[in-house]
């Protein structure tokens, strides 16, 4: 415990009391689960786990909102006021750690306190940057209606940097808990399960009575309902960067006879023009069309080429391959995103070739190529030639 001068005074242990109230403990372990789920789906799982990642994020944001309210309304050791320390107090505590004689604190010590505030702040920032990423890069979520791909890209970089930083902070948090547990000879992990922890000084001051549970519960419920409603309402705004494209039966039947009728946003206008003026030698085949049909298709492609969309696919695929400017699958982005998929997957009967986007992208015809819509065609065994 810290004296009024900021000096560390070390009161004697006064027995175990309930330090962490139930809502704080439930918050802590829910946050552990939600963060683990977000981290695993974000860092390791394939793209189509995006929904679980996003929902983990929403849960984390809700938990952070709860914790902020509880920081004012909870029991003494859960309240922010109980672990706001001055820089001098913090330095003094860190010194005491170096001497392996840490000061005695019933609730959070100054080092732990910094970590709590930092974790809450970074989790909020990760959540918000994640939603901006979702809106800009995937044209999904509450921000899709007004977030450009470029903004989403910046948010994604920030999201990744913050998420990586969070991993280090979690490691720091665990090391801190371990060191304090060793130095104080008290299992702090168990305390976070039972809530019971050694009290120092006068336990009566710290008796675990939440300030105003009912008020806090009402505020949290109102905030979460308001937040969910806002997210739902924003989500109904049509995604920016997606233009209305009427179905074109000439395009889909003429081009779709031989290969999937690729969404026009998958190539820039210059590439489409070149394709439409060289149909008599179309990748080694004569695909010539009568003048009227050809010009109909050409103007459709020109109208809806990559330049006109602000989707992930259009933004990335407009950077064409220098050697093969007409081949979507030759573009650096396409190559990069499909580098993990073996040739066997493309060659098998239910796919046919790399140009069959629809085989794995259920929404290929929309040009959106959402992460959740990816389903890698299963490799078929014993297929007939």
């Amino acid at each position: 415990m810290l004296g009024k001068t900021g000096r560390i005074t070390n009161p004697e242990p006064a027995g175990k009391i309930l330090v962490w109230d139930l809502p704080t403990r439930l918050f802590h372990w829910s946050l552990v689960l939600a963060t683990s789920s977000a981290a695993i789906t974000g860092f390791l799982a394939p793209e189509w786990w995006l929904n679980i990642h996003v929902w983990s994020g929403y849960i984390i944001i809700a938990l952070v909102v709860f914790r902020i309210i509880w920081g004012f309304a909870g029991s003494p050791c859960s309240r922010f006021a109980s672990f706001l320390f001055s820089p001098a107090q913090t330095i003094s505590h860190l010194r005491s750690l170096l001497n392996r004689k840490p000061g005695h604190f019933t609730g959070h010590n100054p080092a732990g306190a910094i970590m709590i505030f930092a974790l809450l702040a970074i989790l909020a920032a990760i959540g918000i940057s994640g939603l901006v990423t979702l809106g800009g890069q995937e044209n999904q979520g509450p921000f899709a209606g007004f977030t450009s791909f470029a903004a989403g890209h910046t948010a994604r970089e920030l999201h990744e940097i913050l998420a990586t930083t969070l991993l280090f902070m979690i490691a720091g948090h665990l090391i801190g808990v371990f060191i304090e547990s060793c130095l104080l000879r008290e299992n702090l992990v168990r305390s976070m399960f039972t809530g019971m922890k050694t009290a120092y000084g006068n336990p009566k001051d710290l008796a675990s009575h939440p300030q105003s549970s009912i008020l806090a519960a009402i505020i949290v419920i109102i905030l979460l309902l308001a937040g969910a409603t806002t997210i739902w309402a924003l989500g109904r705004i049509p995604a920016s960067g997606i233009i209305a494209m009427p179905a074109n039966s000439t395009y889909s039947s003429e081009c779709g006879d031989c290969h999937s009728a690729f969404h026009p946003s998958l190539l820039p206008a210059a590439s489409w023009r070149q394709i439409m003026t060289s149909l008599d030698d179309h990748f080694g085949e004569d695909a010539s069309l009568d003048q009227q049909t050809a010009s109909k298709i050409a103007s459709f492609l020109d109208h809806y080429s990559a330049e006109h969309w602000d989707t992930e696919a259009a933004n990335n695929l407009r950077h064409i391959s220098a050697q093969n400017p007409l081949i979507i699958t030759a573009s650096p982005y396409w190559q990069h995103r499909h580098s993990n998929i073996s040739d066997d997957v493309f060659k098998q009967k239910n796919v046919g070739s790399k140009s069959n986007c629809d085989a794995c992208h259920a929404d290929a015809q929309t040009g959106l190529f959402a992460d959740q819509m990816i389903k890698i065609a299963p490799v078929q065994i014993n297929q007939k030639p």
């Binding site: 031989c258 290969h259 080694g284 004569d286 010539s288 009568d290 070739s353 069959n356």
Partner: protein
Amino acid sequence: MKIYQYLLAPALLVVISSAAFASSPRSQIVDFYRQQAGEDFSAERGKQLFSTRHDGGKPETPSCTTCHTSSPKNTGKTRVGKPIAPMAVSRNADRYTDLKKVEKWFRRNCRSVLGRECSPREKGDFLTFMINQ
């Protein structure tokens, strides 16, 4: 016997006979080529055209069978793996009923496989073969 039965029989006769003798869109297309070719077509020559390896056009497509398989009754496959409905009329009744479409594919595929346009006789032979299949 009621009076309508006397009327029904000749009416049915008219319907059946007109269906049998009216020239179908498919036979109109064959007639179109016959007028141009000025001779009768042979399913046997059509079969040869279909099965021969020509090597005259683009290297990717040396013969019809490259994409349509060795039998017109089979489902074929485009070079990117998309299925092609069978060519044989017995397997695909929609075949060769739209002259514009027939002309488009003869133009494209004769150039791709033979490196030239097909003659009206070749087209007629080919269609005769496919109609008999």
